[in-house]
């Protein structure tokens, strides 16, 4: 059984952690889609559970690639050339102290606001391209409900993926 947990609101974290663990323990596969990693920092997912930050689904987009070029690859190239043998540590320091912080604190929030309309398309794309087909979407909180409707619309009327509110009810 391959289950996609939609947990964008992080409203029922304990249920998500426990249920995804049970799916994996029973020989299935569980992917938990979250919106903000920091909301889950106190939770520990069972080994084998895949946690997918929904923002990562956007990585192939132009906006995301521009950010990669402008904030990561460009400056890092310059630093390597400028610092020579000490370029490696300069790049690591820059990445930790500047690029990652910018990415998390500035780019991601703005990106989420600007590209909200395409998240359901990307999620549907992720579901369609999964190497092991998903059999169930489990909607785990209220904020995931509108997203679930959009994803199911994107998947179209012929998709056979099931919908549930808890993995405890799956057979």
């Amino acid at each position: 059984m391959n289950v996609l947990f939609l947990a964008l609101g992080a409203g029922r974290r304990r249920a998500v952690v426990e249920e995804s663990a049970k799916v994996v323990a029973n020989g299935g596969a569980a992917t938990v889609v979250i919106a903000m990693a920091k909301q889950w920092k106190n939770e520990t997912f069972a080994p084998g559970v895949t946690v997918l930050d929904s923002s990562l689904l956007h990585q192939g987009e132009l906006l995301w690639r521009i950010e990669r070029l402008m904030v990561y690859r460009g400056p890092e190239f310059v630093l390597k050339r400028a610092f020579g043998r000490r370029g490696g540590s300069a790049v690591r320091a820059y990445r930790n102290k500047v690029a990652d912080r910018f990415h998390k604190r500035a780019f991601l929030p703005v990106h989420k606001r600007l590209r909200k309309d395409v998240s359901s398309k990307l999620l549907a794309h992720h579901i369609n391209r999964a190497p092991r087909p998903y059999e169930w979407i489990v909607v785990t909180d209220t904020r995931s409900m509108p997203e679930a409707v959009d994803v199911l619309d994107e998947l179209g009327p012929d998709n056979r993926i099931g919908l549930a509110w808890s993995a405890e009810h799956l057979s």
Binding site: G11, D141, R143, A148, L163, W165
Partner: protein, 398 residues
């Protein structure tokens, strides 16, 4: 399916039922289902589970619209205890809202799930008149018998709200009978709605007495608490009392099962007291595990300020464990006549003195001053599965 007259099909509607999110919540509903199922043709449990979130009005509107779209295509049923079927319905709810509002949201979800069709059952038994009783009113056939069990520890606050009281009155008007799990709850209810006195009577939460412990308790060393970590449960006084008793008897340990708003404070206090090796926090666990833990501990200590029934106390006796509990409403009723046989009841006080002195008295007269076998026998007759099932079946079908 259409239920023929005389068939014993029962639908139980409840806002509480154990889930992975809240393993303890509604464990008494599950035991009621487990106890009564053998005498029924079928039982369906409808669990309207409140999913709260802090959202704006616009977000809430979008959530409600999405919820209604998703309901018809969602898989909601699964097998549950006693051969019953569980029908799980999340009820989206913005944080806040009074009791009447919450009941209306439950009703909207149930109406959407049943799409205007009545509940297919000869008997509908709801736990909590509000929200569950109110939620089913539009989904009953005229001939369906409605019963209510009221457990709410917040009943007085609920009945203080004029609209909620009016809704409660309508539920009582429609139902055959309302069961309460303690005199305290009955008094609160009849003070607000006295005209329904004839419909209100006592019923017990069923307890499973069929799970004996491997070895009897031989010393009162391993203390045990199971419940929410909230102020009403008096768990801070319990910890203080344990610290004092531990100072006198360093071999004592305390296991705390449950979560709640006081969790961090209790952890900090344990460190402050240097009791890290003596006190274990297990968080919430499945009810079966909690019962197993009871069979592995020596003494249940509960310091609640108020309980309508106090299931845990009876469960502890069923697990062969003495109890040290406060006279907080439920326990003095459930343990009436067997207080000394079962353990020690102490006054509700805003300090740890009564608990500490209670433990000293209990320890002084253990084991010969107790009679756990007698306590178990008496409680089995009162609250065992057969007794409670018989009472329900008589009310439902005769």
């Amino acid at each position: 399916m259409t239920v023929a007259p005389g068939d014993r099909h029962v639908t139980v509607v409840t806002p509480w039922y154990p889930t992975q999110m809240f393993p303890f919540r509604g464990a008494f509903v599950r035991t009621m289902v487990e106890a009564t199922a053998p005498g029924c043709d079928s039982i369906t449990v409808i669990h309207g589970d409140r999913w709260s979130s802090r959202v704006s009005d616009a977000e809430d509107a979008a959530i409600v619209e999405a919820h209604l779209k998703l309901l018809p295509r969602s898989k909601r049923t699964s097998p549950t205890f006693g051969g019953a079927t569980l029908n799980y319905l999340p009820v989206p709810m913005p944080v806040g809202g009074d009791f009447a509002y919450v009941a209306k949201r439950h009703a909207a979800t149930l109406n959407a799930a049943f799409a205007g069709k009545p509940i297919d059952a000869a008997v509908v038994h709801v736990h909590e008149a509000l929200p569950s009783g109110w939620a089913v009113l539009d989904n009953l056939r005229p001939e369906t018998k409605l019963f209510v069990t009221e457990h709410a520890s917040f009943l007085e606050t609920l009945l203080d709200e004029p609209e909620a009281r009016e809704m409660y009155d309508k539920v009582l008007e429609r139902c055959e009978h309302l069961f309460v799990v303690g005199d305290g709850t009955r008094d609160v209810l009849l003070k607000a709605l006295p005209r329904h006195a004839a419909k209100v009577s006592l019923v017990a939460n069923p307890i499973n007495f069929g799970l004996p412990r491997a070895e009897p308790v031989t010393e009162l060393r391993r203390w045990f608490y199971a419940g929410s970590l909230i102020p009403r449960k008096g768990v801070t006084w319990l910890l203080e009392a344990f610290a004092k008793c531990h100072a006198e008897h360093p071999e004592l340990t305390l296991t705390i099962v449950g979560d709640g708003e006081l969790g961090d404070q209790l952890h900090a206090r344990v460190e402050e007291l240097g009791l890290q090796t003596a006190v274990t926090f297990l968080g919430s666990v499945d009810p079966e595990i909690a019962l197993q833990l009871m069979r592995e501990h020596d003494l249940l200590v509960h310091a609640s300020r108020w309980e309508s029934f106090g299931v845990t106390i009876v469960e502890a006796v069923a697990a062969g464990m003495p109890v040290l509990v406060t006279r907080c409403g439920g326990p003095e009723e459930t343990l009436a006549g067997i207080e000394e046989a079962a353990g020690e009841l102490v006054a509700v006080e805003e300090d740890d003195t009564a608990l500490v002195e209670g433990y000293r008295r209990l320890r002084a007269r253990f084991p010969h001053g107790l009679d756990l076998a007698k306590a178990q026998r008496v409680l089995d007759e009162r609250y065992g599965y057969p007794a409670v099932a018989k009472m329900h079946h008589e009310a439902w079908f005769e």
